[in-house]
Amino acid sequence: MSIEVHDISKTFGTFAALRSVSLRVETGELVALLGPSGSGKTTLLRIIAGLEQPDAGSGPIRFEDTDVAGRGVGERRVGFVFQHYALFRHMTVFENIAFGLKVRPKRVRPPRSVIRDKVLSLLKLIQLESLANRYPHQLSGGQRQRVALARALAIEPKVLLLDEPFGALDAKVRQELREWLRRLHEKIHVTSVFVTHDQEEALELAARVVVMNEGRIEQIGTPEEVFHDPKTAFVMNFLGHVNLFHGRMEEGKVRFATVACDAPDHAPSSAEAVMVFVRPHELQVDTKRNGQASFSATVLRVSSAGPNVRLELVADSGDQIYAEMPQERFRALNITRGSRVFVTPREIRVFTET
């Protein structure tokens, strides 16, 4: 089932959590709402679920072709996974998963044996068959998360909504669960939206990423699009590491840090003051001038633990920047703290100064 929200606003007191947001999620898609805290992503998710009401004057919330804006949270039949799981603490794992089926009105409630089979098959799906009689406090964080997911899936939702699903887990469990959720989604193919502030999680898991900031959607696109072709300075800054320079546009060239580069196609033509972003791995570091437009800098610090070497540099213009390179390249250059280097920006992105 597809989800479509149109022109949704939400204000808490004087705080505008959402400002006229519109979004469409296709049937079977796995979409991430990505943004810093306070960007409105959780509010949007809760509005889709019906846990929060949008401001008066907001547009429709459509599931397929039906407007569900007027429907109560229980009637929308969505699966919702809460950030802290919200498992019923006085119920066993089995009872937790069965809850959504047990509370149905008598005429649509499946018989006991059907509920039992359903719960057992879900337990199998989450690989926790042996823990059916445990209580939530007897489970690890990752196990609780899976129970919460099984509980949400028990009502056979047309839409699955997950609020920071891995937010409260340690890095290793997080990675495992991420893989597991991706495989699960491939298997059951339910339209899914998850909220996260972790860019890696969003880029790795989602088919499309919705980047949000201050109650607005900054950009919607595939992980490749938002990472390689950011449409706004915020998206550029939020995804991955960046170096920021303040520069000027002059006669089709971008001037910053004592260098003048050819302006990329997307650069504003009229604006004088611009922000120039360069990712650390797109800064080429040499010990000699290489004939291309480059600026000179001094190495402040080298950190070589990890697959890439990270250099902290200070440009002659005073800008403090980071550059990244593979280990082999670093060894070939033979530089240390205090070395003088020449830095060539290979790929720059330019946005009007705000």
Binding site: A49, G50, L51, V73, G74, E75, R77, V78, G79, F80, F82, H84, A86, L87, F88, R89, H90, F99, G100, V103, R104, P136, H137, L139, S140, G141, G142, R151, A152, A154, I155, A168, L169, D170, V173
Partner: protein, 303 residues
């Protein structure tokens, strides 16, 4: 009460601290001795005295004093008042704490303050308020007299002041508990299709049951033992509007000491039973808290 939860929570660290802080044996025994002497003098001696006085004339008169018609009427009235006041305040307490803990609304702080009013006001004043409202010369007095309704110096008045005085017990116990538990479980139940009543009965109630029971026990103890406010509105009509505490006073004023203490011993036993129940519930509550803490630890490890 709010304090009691804090006390229960602080038990863990205190027991751990005991291993670290150690006084010299002499000082320790001296302090323990002083505490025990104080406890004995002010709590145990009076308790024993009540029983000694009650049985002063032997077992026969002791039971005779309780089976006497006026005493029986007092016991019946006390039970009746408790049977009405405790459920009323239980329902109110649950409703008020639900509203305070789970929703935001205008006047929330005012409600929180007003709930405590019966604790801060002298019971005698509480009784007088109701005389002022429903007494013969009170605001609603003439209207009530016209319709032949008696509230003051009758059973309804006693019930009303008891409800007033025992108002905060359940709510005070539940508000912090419910606030600590948050609303996520209720939201989860709603998303899964549970209605309002189902959510309350299957999710909220099981989560608060020990705290609720604790509040009800305290509420009941006070409802049966209240003297001041009831004394003002009762009129002391023997066999009709005397509750047990009032009956004790009447007998005492008539120098009928053994009968007075015989009835008093019943109230004392009620207190002891309350204490035992309270301890049991507290123990259960603590176990639940420990579970919750354990849960928090597991969550912390997962982070």
């Amino acid at each position: 009460m709010a304090g009691s939860i804090a006390r229960r929570l602080s038990l863990g660290p205190q027991t751990r601290a005991a291993a670290v802080i150690s006084e010299r044996p002499l000082v320790r025994w001296l302090l323990i001795g002083v505490a025990l002497a104080f406890l004995g003098l002010f709590l145990v001696v009076p308790l024993v005295a009540v029983l000694v006085q009650a049985f002063a004339k032997g077992i026969g008169p002791y039971f005779a004093a309780q089976w006497e018609p006026d005493a029986l009427a007092a016991i019946r009235l006390t039970l009746l008042v408790a049977v009405i006041a405790v459920p009323v305040n239980t329902v109110f307490g649950v409703a008020a704490s639900w509203a305070i803990a789970k929703f935001n609304f205008v006047g929330k702080n005012l409600l929180l303050t007003v709930i405590d009013l019966p604790f801060t006001i002298s019971p005698v004043v509480a009784g007088l308020i109701f005389v002022l409202l429903f007494g013969r010369t009170g605001w609603a007095g003439p209207w009530l007299a016209d319709h032949n309704v008696r509230i003051i110096f009758a059973v309804p008045g006693i019930v009303l002041v008891t409800v007033f005085v025992t108002f905060p017990f359940v709510a005070r116990e539940l508000v912090p508990l419910m606030q600590a538990q948050g609303t996520e479980e209720e939201e989860a139940a709603r998303v899964l299709g549970a209605g309002g009543w189902q959510t309350f009965r299957r999710i909220t109630l099981p989560n608060i049951k020990w705290g609720l029971l604790y509040g009800v026990i305290l509420c009941n103890a006070r409802a049966m033992g209240e003297f001041g406010a009831v004394s003002v509105v009762s009129g002391h009509i023997r066999g009709l509007t005397n509750t047990m505490p009032l009956q004790v006073e009447v007998l005492y004023n008539e120098y009928n000491f053994s009968a007075a203490f015989a009835v008093a011993s019943l109230l004392t036993m009620l207190a002891v039973v309350t204490l035992i129940l309270k301890t049991l519930v507290e123990w259960q509550n603590k176990r639940q808290m420990a579970l919750a803490a354990q849960e928090a630890v597991v969550e912390g490890l997962g982070r």
